[in-house]
Amino acid sequence: MIEWPHWMAIVVLAPLSGAVLTPIVSLRDRRIAPWFALATMTVTSVAALFLIMRVAQEGPFSYPLGAWTPPYGIELRFDEFSAAISVVCLVGSLAILCSVRYTEWLRELAKPRIPYYYALMLLNLGGMIGFMITGDLFNLFVFLEILSLSGYALVAVSGERTAEMAAFKYLLMGAISSLLVLFSVGIIFGITGSLNMVDVTTRLASVAADATMPAVLALGALTIGFMVKAAIFPVHVWLPDAHAIAPSPISAVLSGLVVKVGIIGMLRVYQIYYGSGILDLTVLNQVLLWLGAISIVMGAFFAIFQDDIKLMLAYSTISNIGYIVMGLGLSTNLSVIGGAVHVFNHALIKATLFLAAGAFIYRTGYRTLTDLRGIGRAMPLTSIALSIGAVSIVGIPPTAGFLCKWYIALGAFEADQPMFGFALIFGALFIFIYYIRMVNAFYFQEPIHKEVLRVEEAPLTMLGPILLLAALCLIMGILGRIPLTFIEPAALRMLAPLGG
């Protein structure tokens, strides 16, 4: 069963074809749409599970589409980094489950849009899965476009004026970044004549040794392109609006998963460059380090001053992506492992936080910390889940956020860059402040609105996912070593030159 090769195709095809079928099956009754989407994601999750078990057993494997031997056709390649599809399936399914009530409640979201809402959600998730398992540069771009295009639309789906403007801003920046990625793919194709990642790696080393400037430009443009997708400091401006205004389940997907696409893209591209060894990546790593550090401090700093709970979480995403990029920039084994695992853990944590925040908004209609005072007494379970998420995002030991940040910090000291290690701890301190603010508002301050105290606990389709995610935050903290050791071979492989 595990060896069956076609899981690789199914894991992409199921969500994408499910998305196409969603408007058709929900023709009579739009309430079918979420359950159909959920069924699709279940199939996908099963396929993902088998794939991850296989990669744990035998290491990376590939699937030649159309039976063409690579590099002549498109190759799907599953390695340890691709295991991030597990969290795509998990968070995606739970976000769909939360959407069932949320979309019906959201007044501005016109009802005929609902089937397309789920179709876009599936397209977004399927695009991400395809992005993570493809072994072909141009195919990477195609999936990048599927997931970005659906992401822009999902921001605007609520139909509020601000949401549409945020979506347009996101679309403009996202389209430029996609264009940069396409441009670089063109350059790489021009100097190597190939699009398959493994083949490009070997050919960059041999064919393109005399064409280093195009290779540098391609690396730079790809880095900028993926940095826009990941919302690193100078190109983060689209993120706060888009993630704060989108409906909460969408925010969970965008903030937990879609920004990580930029990181996975960087991992893939740097693997090519590390492998071919034609460039010295020290300068690039320095740039990543600095931008990562600035993102950490700036994101955390702005988060402190936000009253809107979702805006606060959006800024904290910038800060956390900063950690991951810093881990990449340090380019030691420990820091890359820490960064890659934080991709996974941050998705869990941020999904917990956004879904919990969404549950508050769903029940009370308020979204600022001031208005939500005292909610901890009315919605105890959701509040506890949110607190667990907040503890995790600070990185306090028994939770999911701790080990990966610890690894990145260790990497900083190992790479003899203790300053960045301190920047990391400094950022965690800032985050700790806003965590205190949140808990203070929910549990200890006098409520402004008396009706906040009378609201019920979140409905089951929301509470279940939130509690499950919160529990996973704790479990991943306790079993934190498992993903770290799992990802280690991929990190080692990435940093090593080819054949070395």
Partner: protein
């Protein structure tokens, strides 16, 4: 002043690009890696291996068929995205039972006198529409031999619908297709890829494989034609739907 600043900034931005393109393999050089590596094999063996005289179609449908699957999914994403952004509660969907009464906006529009269409335009469009349709069908069906293919033909077909809607419709004639059929057609392109691709598993053991044996070349050609039709019809249905949604808004 601001524009001058932007322009000078862009000149600075262009310099690294220019330095890089100067080092690219010279334009038209037959020894460039792009011509000696993968392309070389496609050009030498593409017709027998991939089964299309038009190598671009061969690359699109066979060698890099998965990209094309992604591509048609992107078109479908555009449809879902445009509808998710444009549909309103009183919107263009007629089959919903809980449809609220038509908004007052629609009433205003029906009161406005319809813009008269010039008889010349009406005549020309009516005359040309069948030919446009035939041309689209030719481009779709003949795409693996001559220049053309599903996307190009789909664009022509979609354009025909749009022209007809503008000239003949003028607000009164709305989607003529029953909604269920329209939705199947909109999903035609990705679904045909899924089905034909699954057929490929039976022939070659891998998704999207086309039988390489010479004895099966008819099957292979048929599979390609089905894909092209799927792409063409699906693309046209989606373009027309997006246009209707934009117009209705």
């Amino acid at each position: 002043m601001k524009n001058a600043a932007v322009a000078s900034l862009l000149v600075i931005f262009a310099i690294p690009l220019l330095i890089a393109v100067a080092e690219l393999p010279p334009f038209g050089d037959p020894d460039a890696p792009i011509h000696t590596h993968i392309s070389a094999r496609y050009i030498e063996q593409g017709v027998e291996e991939a089964g299309a005289e038009n190598l671009v179609t061969g690359v699109l449908l066979n060698y890099r068929g998965f990209d094309t699957f992604g591509e048609v999914t992107v078109i479908f994403t555009a449809l879902a995205a445009a509808l998710a952004v444009l549909l309103t509660s009183g919107g263009v969907q007629y089959f919903q039972e809980d449809r609220p009464p038509a908004p007052p906006k629609g009433a205003d529009e029906s009161e406005r006198p319809p813009t008269p269409v010039s008889p010349v335009v009406l005549f020309v469009v009516r005359l040309l529409a069948p030919f446009i349709g035939i041309f689209a069908a030719f481009v779709i069906l003949h795409g693996h031999v001559t220049p053309g293919g599903g996307f190009q033909g789909g664009a022509i077909l979609g354009a025909m619908f749009i022209v007809l809607t503008i000239v003949l419709g003028a607000g009164k004639v709305r989607p003529r297709l029953p909604e269920p059929l329209a939705r199947w057609l909109q999903g035609a392109a990705p679904l045909s890829f899924v089905l034909i691709g699954a057929l490929g598993v039976a022939f070659t053991g891998f998704y999207l494989g086309f039988p390489p044996e010479h004895s099966l070349h008819l099957v292979r050609e048929l599979m390609m034609v089905v894909l092209e039709i799927g792409i063409g019809v699906g693309g046209a249905a989606i373009f027309a739907r997006i246009f209707l949604a934009m117009e209705a808004d």
